[in-house]
Symmetry: C2
Subunit: 478 residues, 2 copies
């Protein structure tokens, strides 16, 4: 028996076996302590590119050489998101079961466009999105699907909402003047999607926020009425559960009431924050979400699922279908009663993302994921307490989820200097935002490997470094 | 040393190591002979879902149990795309190096939204898209990026083209009346994207095709002139290199000339066919593509890269940037001269897809991939010859790429019956289309494990089964 003969033109199976086991060892060693790598890549723009050949190889190379180059060339230019001291943007995690799910997904390589094109992919998608609704205590009858990102999710929501408001737009094109409402702190992807779907950036209203960065519903009501009085058509509003800048939670119930009063589609962006809804003592953040027309939560953010895995829910699947279903003959299927997910969205090429989600949900279970999120909440709250107790710091957000936002009383220049020192240490990565016109450091806690000792280490460094961060002459002038 | 203590709340590393090695063994055994599985799932809609628990588990479960359920419950409901006798839709492949690339991508879990968020992901993306341009002999100066699918690619192209034609639309919204041109055989994703971006389905013209299913440029010219005479604004045309129904190649050069004459953006859809451009004797299919404004090729189709990996090129990156760049403070980066890919597209959550592409390009090399595509071409041409030589069959497309299209002279009912027998055998999966109003079977050849003996087996089965496929009474009446 020639074991490799059947593999056709692919890597011989025995070679895959050998290299695959080596790769698993590499992954295991990596996961054992991602923290041994500098969290931020230490390179200049173009540096890696200039070191790689400008042309692809004419003849094939061995995996040993390729994996060697991966370690020698690629890895030093990696910013390690799966690192216990990665606190930038939002801190996310790919867990062991999620990684193994991706391995099997890549192996099967199925396309979940139609039920028939892979029944398992479609039905496991239906199953896992239903499980998540149950865990989040949201309406069981909602339709759910897995997309790549919340950016895609809101694009789908905008198109479905337009379909509801102006059904003729599918055929005739966007005619406007439709108006969408977000807060000053809503994620920029909504505006981007609004441009893409032809709504126009000028038809996105940025509603002011209150002192805790939550959308002001009085301002929302005023804006809607003002637009109506000018014969514009308010049709869409976004409430965010966990904004990107500060994890603020918009007043979803009140925004929902206004949406119902004026006939707007309510989209709730829980890309980051939604996951905390599985934690009983946090479930209140989802109050009112059951009244949403669409809702997004990203298990690739706070549910230990590798990128990409974003869930889009809606109670109006018919609107998605009305907007997106097209019957090309080569895609017609004879399976009645089956969901063909491609009819509910933009793309046909749909990975089997449900597999990794199923692995993660089963491996950790609800209790396990709740425990992981409680660890996050506890560490974030601890850091918030340290900062609040130190008179040099101004705490902007104390970690109701996994994010702490703060600045130095000494002003923006000093705060920027502190951030430079933190990131320049090579040990931590934090990012920033500007809120209330002031430069603010964000410390996102969320990686599955982050432990209390990591956060203590960060605080010790910050507390020490803050002492020598000075007002610049420019900021002293104010 | 407690080896597992560092892994925090994740699967302990020793467990990952054990289960990971088991998973590699499973994958190796699978890849050794995917053909031992029935290619089509044998299940009814809802069957798998009804067998799975309706709620996710409260407490975590062991990976052994989960992997057991994967084999027992999920696998029988899988349609095996990575199977040597999968000839439906387009036959694609995930190869060993591509699978290992996905394993490492899931492990690192980086987001390639900004250069800074992972320099390696951005620069390897720049490097691999440049390598591919070189292999395809297309303009080296083109800007390229990796998206999930050609559906997303054409959405980006439409938005960029609108940005060029009506720069005010970004702010004011789509105002129309913009018109896009596709052929009767252009992929439905273009129409879907046109609906999504607010262009309107009625503003997509379906230009008639010639006897070989290629867009008729005289009809295109007539349609453009007709629209201009009605004060509509022609702005976008799609030429396809390898249509989904029959792998027809539109006359790209002539369409391009018309586009330049009338100021239209030419988008070339080479999602499937583009890959054959690396084969010297096929390179002519890309003639004229150097004049395109945008071009898509999907390495996840014919380049042995696991889903998803779709390359979008354009010579107008500034238009993409003008449409999509938005500066949220929390995303501002200090890296001048660096490409922040999120500024060129819709989504922020961008997987490190370049890694698997780099692995595949290096492992096989240009010569290796050309050899694999030549195998595909040879097998497809062989099957075409058998069909052409059999008087019962009518050959519609003889396999200039990897697709054979045919029907039985006896009529649609007999052809449908033949397809049912082929798929009902459990040994093969073929799909269908309707061209010229007639039901037509598509045999896509392209899986990396498909060998001549598989195709001979299919032909023997078809030739035998065709003998007993009868005209239905309905079709005899005609």
């Amino acid at each position: 028996m020639n074991k490799t003969s059947r593999s056709g033109g692919d890597m011989p199976v025995e070679e895959f076996r050998r290299v695959g086991h080596e790769a698993i060892e590499w992954v295991a060693n990596y996961l054992e302590d991602p923290g041994k790598h500098p969290v931020l890549a230490n390179c200049r723009p173009g540096e890696l590119q200039s070191r790689l050949p400008s042309r692809g190889p004419r003849t094939g190379e061995s995996m040993d050489v390729i994996l060697h180059d991966f370690e020698e060339s690629i890895l030093p230019a990696v910013t390690h998101w799966n690192h216990p001291r990665f606190h930038g943007y939002f801190s996310i995690s790919s867990s062991g079961p999620g990684i193994l799910g991706e391995l099997l997904t890549a192996t099967l390589d199925v396309n979940a466009m139609l039920w028939k094109s892979c029944p398992a992919a479609t039905e496991l998608e239906q199953t896992t999105v239903a499980w998540m609704l149950d865990w989040l205590d949201l309406p069981a009858e909602w339709f759910g699907m897995i997309l790549d990102s919340a950016s895609s999710g809101v694009l789908h929501a905008l198109v479905a909402a337009r379909q509801r408001t102006e059904p003729q737009s599918r055929s005739a094109g966007a005619s406007g003047p439709l108006v969408a409402y977000v807060s000053e702190h809503t994620h920029s992807s909504v505006e981007k999607a609004a441009i893409a779907v032809g709504l126009g950036q000028s038809n996105v209203r940025h509603i002011a926020v209150d002192a805790r960065f939550r959308m002001r519903t009085d301002e929302l009501a005023r804006a809607i009425r003002s637009d109506l009085s000018q014969d514009l058509r308010p049709f869409f509003a976004v409430a965010t559960v966990g904004t990107t800048s500060t994890t603020a939670v918009d007043p979803v119930e009140e925004i929902g009431s206004l949406c119902r009063e004026y006939g707007l589609w309510l989209h709730v962006d829980g890309a980051y924050g939604g996951s905390f809804g599985i934690v009983p003592e946090c479930r209140h953040i989802l109050n009112g979400v059951d009244q949403a027309d669409s809702f997004v939560v990203n298990p690739h953010k706070m549910m230990m699922v590798p990128l990409d895995c974003s869930l889009l829910y809606t109670c109006h699947p018919g609107q998605l279908r009305s907007a997106f279903a097209l019957g090309a003959e080569y895609l017609k299927t004879d399976a009645a009663n089956a969901v063909d997910y491609m009819d509910y969205g933009l793309v046909l090429g749909r990975r089997f993302r449900a597999l990794k989600l199923w692995f993660v949900m089963r491996y950790f279970g609800l209790d396990g994921l709740v425990a992981l999120l409680r660890d996050v909440l506890r560490m974030a709250a601890w850091l918030g307490e340290q900062i609040a107790a130190d008179a040099r710091f101004e705490l902007v957000e104390r970690g109701a989820m996994g994010l702490i936002c703060f600045r130095l009383h000494r002003g923006d220049a000093a705060t920027k200097q502190l951030m430079s020192r933190i990131n320049g240490s090579g040990r931590f990565f934090v990012s920033h935002t500007v809120v209330g016109g002031r430069f603010t450091i964000r410390v996102a806690i969320g990686n599955i490997r982050t432990q209390q000792s990591n956060v203590e280490e960060l605080w010790a460094f910050m507390a020490e470094a803050a002492g020598s961060c000075r007002q610049s002459r420019a900021s002293m002038r104010h």
